[in-house]
């Protein structure tokens, strides 16, 4: 354990934690937008997988990681349209339809991977972008300013999403539709279109998150995300549906995961025990939820299909 508490190891762990947090953060921000408008999307994991495969395959075939990200976003948006149809038009039970999307994404990406790629081939990810001057600061430079593009994008999206939800008309509509859709409807706000928009945006973020993950890891495999999508959903509750809270949650999760990994690398925990420590993020989420749940209220209309009762 004393190996762990050296400055360089801790710095590396924190940097790694920020890197690991990025896919959670992106997916969770997207889910937050959706949930503020009253839509629960449990299929985030499936969309992330689809985005991950899309990015991986595009990068593999074209050699361009950036194009991979664009494709991942497009594919995410397409899945968003599908989910919007299921949720807004067909008014399906949102918890279950999300799980259906998850199963579909899991199987479909595995299928495509086996048919189109076969044996995993590593790809060139996005390189590190070192911010001039700032990245030379000892220790802090390594933690904050030597990351890949997607990390910066994800963290910049935090204030952007806050701004959109709290300082724009669209954001006002989102919040109204999420709290009392009947009232919003009476005032002329289209509940259906608002929710469609948030769903598409949310799923685009999820696709992007998957793409970022694939490019970061440099490879694709069956069930690449391994539950990260579900954890991202949990982070929305953790963050009390505020983007800054979601960021805090993602960082907490990322750093805990990075610490656990570091312990495994350093041999502090081995083999079997590493499964126990892998539980830590899930248990931590529950504990924090217990502490936090008493004081925070969910969006009033979360997960309730909207019926116009006229």
């Amino acid at each position: 354990m004393s190996d762990f508490f050296t400055i360089s190891v801790i710095v590396a762990t924190l940097a790694s934690g920020i890197r690991l947090a990025t896919p959670f953060l992106l997916a969770a921000l997207g889910e937050t937008i959706g949930q503020r408008s009253g839509v629960l999307n449990l299929g985030v994991e499936g969309v992330m997988l689809i985005g991950a495969f899309a990015a991986y395959y595009t990068a593999l075939e074209t050699g361009s990681a950036l194009l991979g990200l664009v494709v991942a976003m497009t594919v995410g948006a397409a899945m968003g349209l599908v989910y919007a149809f299921i949720t807004v038009v067909m008014q399906a039970e949102q918890g279950i339809s999300g799980i259906g999307i998850y199963l579909f994404g899991l199987g479909f990406t595995d299928l495509l991977f086996q048919k189109l790629v076969g044996t995993p081939v590593p790809i060139e990810g996005l390189g590190r972008i070192e911010i001039p001057l700032l990245s030379d600061i000892p220790w802090f430079g390594e933690i904050f300013f030597q990351h890949s593009l997607m990390v910066y994008v994800a963290f910049l999206l935090v204030p952007a999403v806050w701004f959109m939800i709290n300082r724009t008309t669209f954001g006002l509509n989102i919040r109204a539709v999420g709290e009392t859709p009947e009232a919003a409807d009476t005032l002329g706000v289209s509940v259906e279109w608002t929710r469609t928009a948030t769903i598409v945006i949310g799923n685009t973020f999820a696709g992007l998150a998957g793409g970022a993950l694939a490019l970061e890891v440099g490879i694709f495999q069956q069930n690449l995300t391994a539950g990260q999508g579900f954890i991202a959903i949990a982070l929305v509750y953790f963050g009390a549906w505020r983007s800054i809270g979601v960021m805090a949650g993602a960082l907490l999760f990322g750093i805990v995961s990075a610490t656990v990994l570091q312990w495994k690398t350093l041999g502090i925990v081995s083999g079997a025990a590493s499964s126990l420590t892998a539980m830590a993020p899930a248990i931590l989420t529950i504990v924090v939820l217990v502490i936090v749940s008493r004081r925070i209220a969910a969006p009033g209309a979360l997960a309730k299909p909207f019926h116009r009762s006229a």
Partner: protein, 388 residues
């Protein structure tokens, strides 16, 4: 989060009857049940159509694939037995879901509850292998129920007393259970000398579920699942506890105002739901060919995603434990047939997982249609003066 009433189309079969009104004709009741089944059926057909597109894209022939699927599921006694075996965990989890959903609780923790049931029953079998079969089998099943019940009660308590959304806590509990299983199978429970393979030793023969007469692989587990379905029906629709659970599910606020113990009901609902899944876990271990507890959960592991698919079976059956029986059988048929389809067309097994997801999406999306169809049937009935 409350479930809308549209999810209970078979409820009117249970409504107390007004003696001054003529009881509904049997033909009308049958018509309603058929109408209720048509919609999810159509949904499955639509899903299979999407699957056909995927198959064509993979260069396979959907017609030969689907005919292989049907014959693989229902083509002969052996196939029917396999389908029944596949449906067994779906039915058990589905009955549990009926209980939970009717009490207003969304239980997405089936996977974890199955795993914990399997673990506890395995531990019991490893602890007392010498007991005679007639005692050990029931004990093992009860252990499974207990393991699942505990794993369900925890999120129930978290919801009732700490306000934690059960959607989240059950998903997190799934992750914890899967990791716990992985840990146990690498350390405490692993077979002697099997370092790389995550499995226990071959568990005691005394705990093997007895095979049913006939030359098939059918075992006692199928009978138990049917029994649990009947018990679930009795619990939900013929007991005071069931009335309470359903009242809380319909309107928690009103129930609380009426003095019903809402918190306790939530915990009970999730505990019963988890118990059903836990029994499935035990049966999956002790009815399996290998008679060991193996590897993971999830789509590829020993649970075969029954924790999620059971939800679909329950929805298919309108959240009625008895209707879940044919629903689970059909769904099990799809999964069993899927293996045959995969074999016939040489497509990867992942195809079945994807198809599974598509069916779930279509069935769930169709439920609103189903309530509209039901409403239309009722209107037709009353408009024609009750003569149909």
């Amino acid at each position: 989060m409350e479930l809308t009433e549209e999810l209970e189309p078979f409820d009117d079969l249970e409504r107390p009857t007004d003696p001054t009104v003529e009881p509904d004709a049997l033909s009308y009741k049958i018509l309603k049940v058929c109408a209720g089944l048509i919609v999810p059926f159509a949904a499955v057909i639509a899903a299979l159509a999407v699957g056909a597109i995927m198959l064509v894209a993979l260069g396979a022939n959907p017609l030969s694939g689907y005919s292989a699927m049907i014959s693989g599921a229902f083509g002969g006694w052996d196939e029917l037995a396999d389908t029944a075996l596949k449906s067994m965990p779906l039915l058990l989890v589905g009955v549990g879901i009926c209980i939970a959903f009717r009490a207003g609780v969304i239980n997405l923790g089936g996977e974890g509850q199955i795993i914990m049931g399997a673990i506890l029953s395995t531990v019991v079998a490893l602890a007392v292998p010498g007991l005679p079969r007639i005692i050990l089998v029931p004990i093992v099943l009860l252990a499974g129920a207990l393991g699942g019940a505990i794993w369900g009660a925890i999120p129930g308590a978290l919801k009732a007393y700490a306000g934690v959304s059960e959607i989240l806590s059950t998903i997190m509990m799934n992750i914890v259970a899967a990791q716990f299983l992985s840990f146990l199978l690498q350390d405490l429970l692993i077979e002697e000398g099997a370092i790389r393979i995550q499995q226990t030793e071959r568990l005691t023969e005394n705990a093997d579920l007895p095979l049913l007469p006939g030359d098939t692989r059918l075992h006692l587990g199928v009978i138990i699942a049917l029994l649990v379905a009947v018990l679930g029906y009795i619990l939900l629709f013929r007991s005071a506890l069931g009335v309470r659970l359903r009242a809380v599910g319909h309107n928690a606020h009103a129930s609380r105002y009426a003095g019903m113990p809402v918190g306790r009901s939530v915990v009970q609902a999730l505990a019963f739901s988890g118990a059903c899944a836990g029994v499935a876990g035990a049966i999956l271990v002790f009815g399996s060919e290998s008679h060991r507890l193996i590897g993971e959960g999830g789509a590829i592991g020993f649970t075969q995603n029954a924790g999620f698919n059971g939800i679909v079976a329950a929805l298919f059956g309108g959240l009625h434990p008895l209707a879940t029986i044919p629903a689970a059988f059909l769904f099990g048929g799809m999964l069993t047939g899927g293996i045959e389809l995969q074999r016939e067309l040489q497509v990867p097994a992942a195809m079945i997982v994807a198809l599974n997801g598509v069916v779930v999406i279509f069935v769930v999306s169709s439920l609103k249609m189903r309530s509209r169809v039901n409403a239309a049937v009722e209107k037709f009935h009353t408009d024609s003066g009750g003569k149909t």
